[in-house]
């Protein structure tokens, strides 16, 4: 059984999603539900903290592609932080750094939203 956990925290006006464990085609719907809920609640500024994520497949990456435009259309974004090298490599291989911002540290990613207002 895939071990995956998703948790939501508010840091100022920013929603921080902590992902933990294994994000694959089986567990990606949990993350999708979280993003759908944020959209219903009109929370468009999102940082995803990958500190405790061990594994991601393309099904997981697809979730970020599916929701990012809606966030950006509403003056928000999806930014990434605290990613380990093996997970970052997958994002990198698929060209994500061209379209998404990656930060070493969550605070840096959160601050980026406040600087822009």
């Amino acid at each position: 059984m895939a071990d995956f956990n998703v948790n939501l925290r508010g840091v100022g006006s920013v929603s921080v999603i902590d992902v933990k464990g294994y994000l694959d085609a089986h567990t990606a719907p949990e993350l999708e539900n979280m993003f759908s809920k944020l959209i219903v609640d009109k929370q468009f500024k999102v940082v995803v903290n990958f500190d405790q994520l061990n594994y991601i497949s393309s099904a997981g990456l697809g979730v970020f592609m599916a929701f990012v435009e809606q966030m950006r259309d509403n003056q928000g974004d999806i930014k990434f932080s605290n990613m380990n090298d093996s997970v970052y490599n997958i994002f990198d291989l698929l060209g994500f750094p061209v379209l998404y911002e990656f930060y070493k540290d969550e605070k840096e990613a959160v601050n980026k939203f406040s600087i822009l207002g």
Partner: protein, 143 residues
Amino acid sequence: MSSPELKFPLELSVKSSTDNLSVVRNFIKSTALSLGYSNATVGNIILAVDEACTNIIKHAYKYSPAGDIDIELNLSTNKFIITILNSGIEFDPNLIPEPDIKEYYKQRRIGGLGMYLMKKMMDEVIYSKNKNRNQVKMVKYLP
């Protein structure tokens, strides 16, 4: 120190439920580790097999969990060979274009990423038919 010798071929059969992806990953992980690959390469092989099985669940069986996925692991002189068979809808890999993330972004379309990763992670990826079943054979050269 001697490790117990694995007897190839090794086989695993699972139903086409996404629940089983972690079962498949664990099966691949233990075998690949015993062949002496680095952790990073083991991770790449695991991802390639996950993507292949995810594609089968999604496209060949359209998320019906009743289909069969049969995985066979073999060794040749310098190759670790992973063969995955399914009896679902046939799929023509030539119809899947190389993904371009900017295009995907514009079109809000997701897909094709799995196959791209499989090709990146493995040395060979070959789609074919085997006794009326669909077969994907993936090869990683031994370390």
